[in-house]
Amino acid sequence: MLVLENVDAHYGKSHVLHGVSIEVRAGEVVGLLGRNGVGKTTTLKAIMGMARRTGGRITFEGRDLHGVPPHGLAGLGIAWVPEERRIFRLLTVLENLRTGLDRPGVTPARREGLLEKVYAYFPILRERRNQAGGTLSGGEQQMLAIARAMMLEPKIILLDEPTEGLMPRMVGQIQEIVHALHREGVAILLVEQNVPLTLDAAERVYIMEKGAVRHHASAAELRADQRVIHEYLGV
């Protein structure tokens, strides 16, 4: 469904992605592992049209993303949960959710339904719905960021390091969410440094190093033989 073929990208003069090829099929959870700075986030940014792509192709459901404006991706079904979460700090929780909810073709009834669903997953958001986003704790902001993406009813969510800086209890919650989304048929491209979580949630995993994909295997294989993980992540 989402296919990156030989993608190259540059930040100014530095060549940050080298021939990256990744595929995420409908409903799949795919992991993207690697140490800090290897280009995982850059890969997501390339998909979102935020990095300067200098080679290769990115297609979604067969359609080349090249000409699509940055605000058109949500409409295609691609949602992004960035590493820094980037919730709108001065908007309330509800308003944050509304940025994804107020789309053409969504009836008020369906909106109510979506909100209820998300509140069911994240009761704390219902409680804080009229509070400014900036007043939420780190974990709550992460939940809001994911909930906000869910408002788009996406076909795929680009999830960038959701467990970074979170307490272990919250990590468990994130894990549950990923499972729940998977059950609903939403594809996820999960960028993480948390290996156990990734191996548990994902079906396939790509491992990156220095801007290129170095290894690609099923999660089962990697669980069975952890040497590759040790080699690339030193874990």
Binding site: P70, H71, R98, T99
Partner: protein, 286 residues
């Protein structure tokens, strides 16, 4: 004492009109980092359009509405043709571009309406009487109307779907785009709103001093000052600053000539930039 009351009223009324102008300017700056040099000239153009419509129809309110709509659309067109191509470039190029627009608009107005002063007659006749003081009703009406329009803007930003789009885009353009908000359209929309408000201010201000081609620059300058003093991008701040500066100027006009009273606003600007550069009415950044 009488002088002080009259000047206070002047200050408040002028402050409200200025607040309307500054709101548009600060909204535009807050969302797309554009210092709209032509803002005052859009006001001027609005005043002329209003004067013409008034001349033809005799209806002040229609003139106000038409001026706002026409200049709003013009603003949108301007943004699309001259400012969109500059997105991503050095922000100072937008100052240059809007400066060019300002020149063209001024001379166009001169060409279209000629050099004589146009009059916009008062929408509400008569004077308001308080004890033995008289103050024109229309000025009070102007202040009230300006207040209503600004409140309308505030409500629109706070509650509407588009208000959320605008606020989200102002805070984080990239994330707003990722959420599917059509940011280029939001930019155009905000510029149109700002332009419409400027035009309406022009029509409101028309009865005060007549309509001339050069009235715009004065407003642009004052609006800049007020936006900086209030904190760039800060709507509430620019409103407070408008009233504050206008009051100071009015009081100064008791002592010096109006032409010199203008220096008061300059001094406020200079002091603000020296000691509280983020804005007088903005909490000190940590």
């Amino acid at each position: 004492m009488d002088q002080i009351i009259i000047q206070t009223l002047h200050g408040l009324v002028n402050g409200m009109v200025l607040a309307m102008v500054a709101s548009g300017l600060t909204l535009i700056f807050g969302i797309m980092d554009i210092v709209n040099f032509a803002h005052g000239d859009l006001l001027m153009l609005g005043a002329f359009v209003g004067a013409s419509v008034l001349g033809v129809t005799g209806n002040y309110w229609l003139a106000l509405l038409v001026a706002a709509v026409v200049i709003g659309v013009l603003g949108a067109l301007l943004q699309i043709t001259t400012l969109r191509p500059l997105i991503g470039r050095d922000p100072l190029t937008t100052i240059l571009a809007t400066f060019g627009v300002s020149l063209v608009i001024q001379k166009y107005a001169l060409w279209q309406w000629g050099p004589s002063v146009r009059r916009i007659s008062e929408p509400v006749p008569g004077d308001f009487v308080l004890f033995h003081l008289q103050y024109p009703w229309y000025r009070i009406a102007t202040a009230v109307l300006a207040g209503l329009i600004i409140t309308g803007l505030w409500l629109f930003l706070k509650y509407g779907k588009y208000g959320i789009w605008i606020r989200a885009t102002t805070q984080d353009r990239v994330m707003a785009q990722a959420m599917g908000i059509p940011v280029p359209l939001v930019y155009t929309g905000v510029f149109a709103i700002g332009s419409a408000m400027a035009a309406a201010s022009g029509v409101l201000f028309g009865p005060f001093a007549g309509v001339t081609q050069t009235m715009g620059f004065d407003f642009t300058l004052r609006a800049f000052i007020v936006v900086v003093v209030g904190g760039m991008g800060n709507l509430g701040g620019s409103i407070l600053a408008s009233i504050f500066v206008s009051l100071l100027e009015s009081y100064a006009a008791i002592v010096v000539s109006p032409a010199q009273a203008v220096i008061v606003s300059f001094i406020v600007l200079v002091l603000t930039m020296l000691f509280r550069p983020t804005g007088l009415f903005v909490p000190t950044p940590k």
